[in-house]
Symmetry: C2
Subunit: 166 residues, 2 copies
Amino acid sequence: MKENQTFTIKQTAKQTGISQDTIRYYEKIALLPRADRKDNGHRVYRQEDIKTIRLISCLKKTGMPLDEMQPFLAVSSDTDPAEYPELVEHLRSHRENIVSQIASLQQVVDFIDMKLEEGKYRRDCSDEIQEGVSEKMMGKPKPKPVSPVEMSFFSHRPEQASRRTP
Amino acid sequence: MKENQTFTIKQTAKQTGISQDTIRYYEKIALLPRADRKDNGHRVYRQEDIKTIRLISCLKKTGMPLDEMQPFLAVSSDTDPAEYPELVEHLRSHRENIVSQIASLQQVVDFIDMKLEEGKYRRDCSDEIQEGVSEKMMGKPKPKPVSPVEMSFFSHRPEQASRRTP
DNA sequence: CTATAACTTGGAGTCGACTCCAAGTCAAGG
DNA sequence: CCTTGACTTGGAGTCGACTCCAAGTTATAG
């Protein structure tokens, strides 16, 4: 198998679903390392780079801002995370974040399902999210109505509420 | 139980975790209906409004842009979704979106777990996302390694790749 | 030899979602 | 009566993440 295949930026864009402009932008802001150039100055990408870009795209979906992704990319390519306790902590903490996000998303799915079902059976209870969400669900096998969070909507930044009090 | 309790914008902000400014902003862009005012012009909020704001906050976490939330808020308060087939479609489609997002997030969790485990056991295989993600996972009961998407990372906007070709 | 396509660069522009500001109103306390 | 605090308004500013542009280079095809 050809392991050392290379790609143009166009191919890379196509493969990753990230536009050429954006890939260049990521390089500009040093999220991606400066790509090697051919003699004519064109960027070359390898499988590894594509993986990195995919990871970025994936992390983006978890709502992580670009400027926090660096450590994850480092860990992606070679580093052994166990050697950087801080990094491990970072990973764990973001993992928790994501797990909460999943719960949050599951809630929305439940909410939608509820609304959809409600329509189907024409129940007129003015139920809202927040309380008895899914009780009558049987359309699909759902292990649990994600109860751990209990519709508290994962308010993972409890800032707010009068910061302008100098 | 006092059902008709009202709240100031400050209290509302505190309860929802959304800043006063942002709540006003939502009203400004008509995402929220114009709140009732007291005689002195101050906004008053009720339980229902708080639920709506919570729903916005929740939908935001699913990555939905503000200007697409309107139908969901409508459905939240009173409307029977079944009467608006378009809306039902919207709901369904967004549901699919979210399900994909969950898969995507689960992948990142898997990735992190993998990295964490890898560190733990000091395996030196240069595994990456994309292939055998979790095979050696047994730390927690995971039904499936979210395989349906097969690490394709949910590229829910397949635009890209040379649009500027006039 | 020239047109086309695929790239390069630096920099400007856009867009969504806030966030902050200044000037003003109103109610209660000292 | 004056200050303080909680609010109001319209509008300006910020920030992250692109996205677009113009000008230039190089390679290939006709």
